[in-house]
Symmetry: none
Subunit: 527 residues, 2 copies
Amino acid sequence: MSDFHVYDTTLRDGAQQEGLNLSVADKLAIAAYLDELGVGYIEGGWPGANPKDTEFFRQARTALDLRNAKLAAFGSTRRAGAVAADDPQVRALLDAQTDVVTLVAKSHSRHVTEALRTTPEENLAMIQDTVSFLVGEGRSVFLDAEHFFDGYRADAAYALEVVRTAAAAGAEVIALCDTNGGMLPPQVTDVVGEVIAGTQARLGIHCHNDTGCAVANSLAAVEAGASHVQGTINGYGERTGNADLVTVVSNLQLKQGREVVEPERLRQALHLSHAISEVTNVVPYSRQPYVGASAFAHKAGLHASALKVDPDLYQHTDPSLVGNSMRTLVSDMAGRASIELKGKELGYDLTGQPELLGRVVARVKELEQQGWTFDAADASFELLLREEVTGDKLDYFDAESWRIITESGDRSPSLSEATVKLRAAGKRVVATGEGNGPVNALDHALREALTDAYPELATFELIDFRVRILDAAHGTDATTRVLIETSDGKDSWQTLGVAPNIVHASWTALVDSFSYGLLKQGVLPRT
Amino acid sequence: MSDFHVYDTTLRDGAQQEGLNLSVADKLAIAAYLDELGVGYIEGGWPGANPKDTEFFRQARTALDLRNAKLAAFGSTRRAGAVAADDPQVRALLDAQTDVVTLVAKSHSRHVTEALRTTPEENLAMIQDTVSFLVGEGRSVFLDAEHFFDGYRADAAYALEVVRTAAAAGAEVIALCDTNGGMLPPQVTDVVGEVIAGTQARLGIHCHNDTGCAVANSLAAVEAGASHVQGTINGYGERTGNADLVTVVSNLQLKQGREVVEPERLRQALHLSHAISEVTNVVPYSRQPYVGASAFAHKAGLHASALKVDPDLYQHTDPSLVGNSMRTLVSDMAGRASIELKGKELGYDLTGQPELLGRVVARVKELEQQGWTFDAADASFELLLREEVTGDKLDYFDAESWRIITESGDRSPSLSEATVKLRAAGKRVVATGEGNGPVNALDHALREALTDAYPELATFELIDFRVRILDAAHGTDATTRVLIETSDGKDSWQTLGVAPNIVHASWTALVDSFSYGLLKQGVLPRT
């Protein structure tokens, strides 16, 4: 199936996602990653309709060196009553100078009359004229048949006529779009089968996830004979998103044995999915199939002991095929087996050391009793483990005291001010930091106090901060768990603090976060 | 299809999700919400294996008043070589005193020998013995056939024998589990059809989302004849999660016309999905089908104009059926209709007062923009509504300033001290309170300052306190939302505060909580 099309529309339909806004530079960066993943086509945007997209295609000609993918410019059929060759929007598609032009066309007769406000006949003429004009100009033309499934249900004869007209005019692929996303797999199977039988056209599929079935609908269409599948990286898109190409491609390749991208490229899936999320600034979804941080993470103690026997019994596929790996989560449901596995993952071999393992398990259990949950804080767990293995606690500084004052006049903005007193690298330091909250102020003060002794922590940045009140039945007397995520620009790590006082819990998590970050850079305590 | 089972396992399998940790109080709160949604069965946990779950079932007997759902206790078949009646784990299932017991059993012959380390024959005996013992004790027994689909592929004859044995012993439902989550819909269709043909047993389905097909797989099983579907709210669960019951039920009901919950209950889906996410403290996924904040949000300019002509052309279903509403991305969730409805609920008739309604909607929209969510804070909303209706803001006191000092020596317990200055009942008061955290100290100080003017608030007690960091990408610079629940011994109410500073947000929520409590007792401001 070497001619199968993997067609990415992250840069056009994916960019419709709420809160997502891509610059030209972002789009170029994403296109390069998509090419690395091995997709066949990259839809770059709508030149003419959107100045940013026009600019993208202009810059792409020199800035992008695509190895696998071809660029596609997206646009619509000519205006009603016009001539394709004279339509400025159609000319803009030519000016984008791409190998492929993808035209969106109405295929639902009610949309033709009510939204496009023209006749069904004129809509067919618009398709015929625009496709054949662009083919005549040497372009490969794909047609996105908008609202196809709803249209087919309402008026099958007209929907089929749209497909026939486009194919006869020279469109290489007609992609059937479930624009509103309301389909379920059996409907997709039926419609794709009937359209192939009724038109002999080459079909593609374009799904949205409004019923939670975008992936399954895409696979159903392929099973029924479609040989072109559209989607977006990480399922970005309007409303509930488009079909996630990472999941679709992984399923086609690893579950159904269709090699649609080179296996070596699929091994980059996790890396590329996360790299693209850095560009879009959308936090990766940890439960994403195949490449999510949790996708191969095991918590249940029941499984952990058996996982040691044979990981294949508890994994639906080999995670390394998509660049992921199995993780064991340390939790109250886990016993020695999962802690041993976790140690191994972190590079500490605990086999044959039952006494050491027992000590670690006992400490974890005791802390979990108090409300710690290491499953979300690998870095805190590694610090604990390292301490038990080496018998040496990493004290990067010696804290004397800290104090935070938060005050506010009525309705005036509140300010927090923190003062930290500590000894580091042989010197006593007193430092003060301000912030718009107590933890923010404490972070600033601690950073200020340590910066002379540890200039390395200048790159650290707090990127997430979560608070959970445990045992909430006691109201503000409850215990507080604070989870912090810190980044050094390359990697990120999670640390934890638990205490009755939220500020104290934050202090613990901050100190661990700094310690872990320094340890990872090979910096040992300077005393 | 009135006998169709909607079976929720949020409290057991959902709790396996990375980072999710539920207290007994959390579980009771979630169970009450699930009952409101109209699920038929709520799996509460594994009594005996987990002390927290034992305690849940104990408390549930008095604390839960279920109208629709039955509770199910989850556990495993007896140990190899033992007798069910003498197995402590099986006894713990009886002690949970639920109508239903759901037993997990191996159905994959390799798992029997390699993980369970017994013989295939003994595994069948364990199923027969445990099911018939529990049936004899008056329980409805459901069987979760673990790793069924992988097992059926490896050794169909044995997998079928497991189903037949369980059914013959009296199990009412045998739920086929795709434990590793690797299936695609066509496989599920085939296997479910073959098992029904080969056993005539009543089948259920339990799916995980590792291929992104948990919802489609669940629907495929129902289409093939399963009449019991398991899942979790919001798709919580280990790895990529379980089938999202919200999506599965919405699809069954709105797409396939099977009434599996009362339509009026489905209209609560958004509210209940979000209320449960407040308990789990897992940020709601905005792209979640049906109930996600973005699920009916339209950004594309192409659509926005046509949306006005006929929303049905651009929506796959009527969002109000799940309690959601259409948004174009400049506006937000709060519509006039829902605010009018909410007002009615609270005893404020807003019909025929378009100007007043408009003012309330505008204020709610503005506050929601800043991160307020009135969904979980009826008391704060009622204060706002009362203010607009009466034109009179309830100021029980006039705050001058407040200040909180939190300090700690190294490793010594942290203490917070709050000082509040205010005027109430004609007097200026300066009061100080201590606490083990800043909010606790502030609560004590404010109470101390107000007690002379309002002795009525002596009965108020803070019973819950929740913190969510919004816009977490900014780390500790993010906005904080604090939700407080207060009780006067008879009733409880929720109030909200949003501010960059967590202490300020808590102050707002505390002040509203005192105001609302006093108002409910008929106490007006004393000046």
